[in-house]
Symmetry: C2
Subunit: 185 residues, 2 copies
């Protein structure tokens, strides 16, 4: 009985921490009908830090990247890069990138990954996107990991023609043709 109820309590404790991390040991104790010491032991076993530390972590994180995705210069993570030639980046589609109703990814995130990869590939200190032809082939959903491949197909004066193809698994979900213009001095 105790064993089962302990496991159960641990499960509940973990999920409880995720949704409402601002609870004292005392409150948890009364909530679960056990003593404070038991809660402390549980936290030890599960590696859950104390209330103040939990709060601090949430606050720190929120403070570190106040606008989440929006404020980074790069969307996605670059895996491979050959300046002026090719590049590969990945992006995990998280819950904040999808429409609430349909759980389909908002197009601009996929665009952002491709566009920022194209920018990274360009061998120029500063650049802007001039023209893009893009095609969303298949709707992308939460949890999918997107892999974008960029390839510079032509370079002319300060213009770069770049192709980006984005896959989710084996499926091609998106492709884009960019003309990027480098800004010099």
């Amino acid at each position: 009985m105790a064993r089962q109820s302990k496991k159960l309590r641990h499960e509940q404790l973990k999920s409880c921490m995720e949704c409402s991390p601002f609870v004292t040991d005392e409150e948890l104790a009364t909530q679960f009908g056990v003593s404070i010491q038991t809660i402390r032991l549980d936290r030890m076993e599960l590696g859950i830090p104390e209330l103040r530390e939990r709060t601090r972590q949430v606050a720190q994180e929120a403070h570190a990247n106040p606008k989440a995705i929006a404020s980074q210069d790069m969307t996605g993570e670059i895996l491979d890069l050959e300046l002026g030639r090719t590049g590969i980046s990945t992006l995990l589609v998280t819950s904040d990138m999808v429409f609430e109703k349909t759980h389909v990814a908002r197009g601009h995130h996929i665009f952002a990954q491709a566009n920022s990869l194209a920018l990274a590939v360009m061998d120029a200190p500063a650049a802007v996107t001039g023209v893009a032809n893009i095609k969303f082939k298949i709707p992308v959903r939460e949890g999918e990991r997107l892999v974008a491949k960029a390839e510079v197909v032509r370079t002319r004066a300060n213009k770069n023609f770049i192709w980006v193809k984005t896959r989710s698994g084996a499926q091609e979900v998106f492709r884009a043709k960019f003309i990027m213009v480098s800004l010099e001095g």
Copy 2:
């Protein structure tokens, strides 16, 4: 001397709290070259809560609306909308939308405004972007207010052909042609 330096300290204290709220009274004391008690008095006078309370507030807020701006289904603010025909939205280019180095707006924000307006204009419960042809005509900078106008130019089966033109003042900075596909049932 004391009076001036007190006012000054109060000013600095307030601005200090805004940018880095995770500082103890002790750290503040050494930083300002005064005693802890003075810092406490200052906080009292200025109505600044203690470290733990400050941290809690930041965490609470972050927890209440987890992804703020990034998770909204709409980018920009709709001023006018005629379903299935036209729509207008505005977007103020803020510091978190621009590249750190150049202060030029990242393309996907402009795209996002246009794309979400195009979605809004469509007279369909759910839709995805199929194809887009887009052109960034002039780089946009921080502080500019963008006005996007969308127009449905053709409707065929479950496809909508939508033009979006974005201006900053009198200048056209961006235009896009979208083919949106409505998802039914």
